[in-house]
Symmetry: D2
């Protein structure tokens, strides 16, 4: 009885939604699993906190925020749209919202690329495998874990539920935009979430919006577009990511060499990271022990590793000394090979001290029948019952529809801007610096 009372009153204070309200014991039980608590130790924006120092928030806050949005929406649907929304879908929606990021690991992008993992597969494993999460979910019904997993995998048969969790205006995107805007301190990411929630409606085929919400939805798309250019694509943050990727590659090389060269100690990766570098498949249990802290601790240790490249890259990373960058354009692209040679000549191994990095986002697109993966467009309901697609009624959205935001950059050591060039490449080097200077236009961000 005390327990029920507590559950009834359970709230988490949240700076974005003020309070996260928890009415269902199962939600509280899921939050209390070690798999979910692990999300507290994984930063939502990864290394971007090195540019936006306020953005040190974790995936835990985002996950409960996504849940809270789902809770508000399904409460409203249950109240106003009981004819078309099945209240039995409420719990699977809430749980899928809560767990949609459960498979994410530390520095996801870099991690997946290097270690060939896939956070979507991990999510499924955590939900279906031998975990406390699975055990809590199974209490609802034997098939419940599978239902939750299929919502996240977008194969669940109710398109309303799937679109709430994954679409161009889903609970995930709405929460992370508001949250990242709040923590970075960028006002561009704000939009009128209350208005959007109030005009959102279930339809036979999924989710649509009352025409009265058009401007709020338009503003959400524009905010998202602006957040990508200003926060998610930030070149300094990517200059740190490149450092991280290269130093982990160096670890991989050194670990492999240790197999054939006894003089190299393979103990330097420690018990938690070791499974990443052996040939054996990473177990779920191994995976769940990894978090930002583990990587940061070993990079800390590697600052004094005997390998000069590993120690130098680690010191740069810990001391926040990112690689600098230049935009890759039609004019600069042909220079890259020469620039790499220059970097090598200057004593920096170009494999570890240069990189090409491409940031990409598609801010909005309408439905393309011939595209395999369903891409749900944003539709509005008119008074006469007909539908209209967002870009069809918004000049601003029409301007960015179907156009990818892309930023390609070449990364190199900051020292390249100050050291003296040798004679052979003097002209190219001057060209290099001249390009760098001209392309400073492309980094109009606060911290450079």
């Amino acid at each position: 009885m005390l327990e029920e009372k507590l559950i009834k009153e359970k709230v988490l204070r949240d700076p974005i939604h003020n309070f996260i309200h928890i009415d269902d014991p199962i939600i509280l039980d899921l939050i209390n699993t070690p798999e979910f608590q692990r999300l507290r130790r994984i930063k939502q924006l990864g290394i971007a906190s090195s540019v936006f120092h306020g953005a040190e928030h974790s995936r835990f806050g985002h996950s409960v925020g996504v849940y809270e949005l789902a809770r508000r929406i399904t409460e409203r649907f249950g109240h106003y749209y009981s004819d078309i929304w099945d209240p039995k879908e409420r719990l699977v929606t809430l749980v899928a919202a809560l767990l949609h990021d459960i498979g994410h690991g530390a520095f996801s992008h870099t991690f997946e690329h290097l270690f060939h993992t896939d956070h979507e597969a991990m999510t499924r494993e955590i939900i279906m495998g031998n975990t406390e999460i699975h055990s809590v979910l199974s209490q609802v019904s034997p098939d419940f874990p599978n239902q939750v997993a299929s919502v996240i995998a977008k194969t669940y048969d109710n398109p309303q539920v799937v679109q709430l969790i994954s679409s161009q205006i889903d609970v995930d995107r709405m929460d992370y935009l508001l949250r990242d805007a709040y923590f970075t301190g960028t006002k561009y990411g704000e939009f009128d979430i209350d208005r959007i929630l109030r005009t959102m409606q279930p339809t036979a085929n999924g989710i649509a919006f009352d025409i009265a919400g058009m401007h709020a939805v338009e503003d959400y798309i524009v905010s998202r577009y602006q957040m990508y250019w200003q926060v998610y694509f930030h070149p300094v943050s990517r200059g740190m990511e490149v450092l991280l990727e290269h130093l982990l590659q160096r670890v991989q090389e050194l670990y492999r060499s240790s197999a054939t060269n006894e003089s190299i100690d393979n103990n330097f990766v420690g018990p938690l990271l070791a499974p990443l570098f052996t040939n054996k498949a990473l177990t779920l249990s191994d995976y769940l022990k990894l978090d930002d802290n583990v990587f940061m601790t070993y990079i800390n240790i590697w600052q004094s590793h005997p390998d000069p490249i590993l120690s130098d890259l680690s010191q740069r990373f810990m001391g926040r000394r990112p690689l600098k960058s230049m935009e890759i354009t039609n004019e600069t692209a042909p220079l890259l090979d020469e620039l790499k040679v220059l970097v090598n000549n200057a004593g920096f191994n170009a494999d570890f001290y240069t990189a090409q990095n491409r940031a990409y986002d598609l801010p909005y697109d309408d439905y393309k029948p011939n595209v395999a993966k369903p891409r749900t467009q944003i539709d509005f309901l008119l008074a006469d019952g007909s539908h209209r697609e967002l870009a069809d009624i918004s000049t601003l959205v029409a301007a960015i529809k179907g156009k990818a935001s892309i930023d390609q950059r070449f990364f190199f050591p900051k020292e390249m801007l100050s050291i003296e060039p040798d004679e052979l490449f003097a002209d190219t080097f001057k060209q290099f610096r001249s390009f760098i200077r001209n392309n400073s236009l492309t980094t109009p961000n606060p911290e450079s």
Copy 2:
């Protein structure tokens, strides 16, 4: 001494800028003139407060807000750009900012249209004529009033000062967007004013922005675009404006009739409004006595005027019962004459109960050499000293550049949607209602 102390400490609390800081005695003296205090009695958004009930703020707050932005900018210019900004321009800039709206009257748009006045000419008269404002300004120097007037008239010879006061991103626009967004409660109008102020710079030819402010400026233009569609063009507000215009036209007709028809009492307009309806030119002194209260009081009185049209329109206005509207499109335009006939047949004099109204704004445009009136584009300074125009580097602004926002509507009594049509026009009438219904798409605003 006490006076100096007071002046040094003088601040006005302001919800937009937190505090308005007054350091110059002349600014305080100008605020304390009856001409300036009159701005407290003129609503910034006129009748739009009947739709956005929070937006009851006056031109007084806006005027001191514009002054405060000018104060912050010139303080910064004086500190950082003393090579290119002449600190002697400070005072004329502050005063022009404070007084830029001093000539505005109650319900400006309607007023100017009906009574053939011009708030720009009035502004000049108030600054140059026999007023306390003129007398305060003359204390600075005999030519100072003229300098202030020329800044507002855009003929002042320093383009930096002129552009700060009047351009596509001037202190006037920045304050009213923030202020109107705050008081209406629409979040769309918010933008990062601190960032804009910090990246604004004087140049040889006027004002430009550091490239680091690009996203903040882009967001300002987008916010402005959204505010026009959602607030300034609101059809319900325009349905009230049309009522006001028609009832004042009716007063004009009745007043004129009274000249030839002794049975009509011309005393009904009262001492303050009378000068508007006689053939004599409106004096400055007459003009300065007019404010929102005067119009509202006489409309209140006219609710019981013997003329049925005047009393009915006055009651609709006081009771907030606006005319309804329909968008004028290629499809609906040919119907308007028939619709007017219908309204007449239904017993409503179409001259007073219908109207066509066009809302217009040009959200952003670049410089057109062949256009007479200089339209200052927004420029950014690059690291190499070159300039780039906003739409050249912003996809969003490029999408709306040079494209006017236009909303044309046909207004008619709400009763037309419920009364029974006579047989003759039954088909057209059904068509009317059908169009009205279909065009409800065009009013996605909160209060309809």
Copy 3:
């Protein structure tokens, strides 16, 4: 059907609560009556907008805000406390919240004092009398108007409903504190309304709060205390109120003289104000025509009235030139008679140019069994079902419990601080100025 659709979707955008949601046709009908629309023309803070220029908001916004809070609370009560809260009380609660201020007139405090009216009696008359409001209310049931009136009069038999509308933490106070803080721009008035609403509960005897809401309620009481001292008691605002009161008294005198003295024209009060000055009782219809605009318009006209006192006071009022003030303390009180003589000697009729004014508020009190008017204390529910009174668990509230905030001031013309004293009272006059200077401590407000 279209009507129902509209009603279902009806929202008003509000800067405090984001949106006011209207689900019941009767609420919409009440808002659309001319009696309710009249609230748009009465400023919430009266003349205080002359000090806090942002605070030009009307009683209309406050009234719909109070309704919205009641709507949220009763929705929650219906959902979570159906055992102890009767859902049939919902409508009478919403309507009483909406109409609680319907009887207020322009510049209420001054008005009631001078013209011996009573806004509570007026409220009852508007609800029970021959008005559109009464007619809308009667559609619910013949007894419904009476029920609404009794809630507002605190005689309704359900203490839950009465306390929601009138207590030390009622929907009225919560809305006006948030609203006045927002529009003045003072941050002190903010508190965590969401938290308060979520911890509020119906009990057998009225309303109580879960102990989890203690800090939010404490903060509300502290905010209220601070708002009184900083906004509601502001001496400059009271210096304007005194001007208004005195000029209306002068009008009263002049009007009465006109009865016996034919040379005085009694037409100067105009048709709308005339009923205030005759000996006949003010009719409801007369009362409902009065608003801020009417008073402001006639004060505008009276600026050129032949009576020098009336025209001077009117010019001071329109030009915002308030009387100055000094705190009345044990030390200054004995000086007042002498000071009045001085003011008279300086050529200002002390009856019209001086005043004593007392501002009073009781920030919080617990229940006193022997006090006639029930004063509902704020109670918290503990886990064991027992109650504790707020001041019993809050050090801050205990510090101000039962202690009235009082500020008494003596008002006089600003000129008294600069004109030369005649010899007779030279010493007292110096004492006067010396006191004024020393008491500047008591006006630590932004605008003086």
Copy 4:
């Protein structure tokens, strides 16, 4: 030249102060040292982020925020108070503000208690020792490091500078209250920082405030008081701290046993933590390698340590399963010994599974001549040049002046609330549970 340009424009985006402005190369150089970057890896509120999930912000953001407040204040002092403020004090003030927390380590409170370190001594060592910080500071002048250290140690001879950095209303407290309120999402911590900064003045003896800032300062003290009770004293957060302290004590025990018992492997503490447990003094270099990540990583590893107490406490900590608590009052204090026996009997080693913990703060005090450590009271300047102390003019502050906020709690395993008691202590046990239940009043916080 490029470097100077960059420095001129250098800003960090900050959600509290919008932007941190960096004009001095030395400030940028200090931020770029590895010692300062280390602050990114130490959470401002330590383990409190396990209760307030938004509060994951680090000491880095706080440190640059404190600097920014100092920058704004000294800029204002230089502008308005050049007679009494020496502009040469600017740089030492900014640097002391930036570095005031440089000596803090991970989980400071717990750390210092267990390992007998002192963050104030560490701060001095970092500033004066062989660090990059010292080397940057020495570029200003040979004595500059010493000056900075003496400001932080409160021995610097200019009381204005000392009070800005350390007093009851210093830049440190102002930043952390605003910042912690923002990130936790508690609105109580907000106050009007702009008003406080504008009324702050240098005096001959330190810092005082214009009387016009009284209400803002009062609100700051009240906010601080509320933040302590609601955030800093939160019992769940302290339940996590107790776990941390006990598990590190267990590590200490195990490490010491390993010296005499070869069967225990002392390698389990890893290279970075090892220096903490040996008998040798901790070197500065060792200290600077420690951060939150290191502790979190080893606790992660210790979850599978063979010692059952260490592994269990580590699992509780990582899985966020805090000890529960009960307030220690006159009534509960006599029970503690019996309760510990009960916990032992239930199979939990009471040394590691129970604790008494005392949270303490003195919200405000005036000057006590006989107290050794100078405690600077908050003074206001009146118009006549006299001073008055805050509590002398604020009823609210007077209520809490000199009264310590104290919360003492007894911690125990959550399981004690559900397991069956053995017969011997059955009565006490029932009493235990009964007390726990009754004292739930004392935890009115969101997350329990």
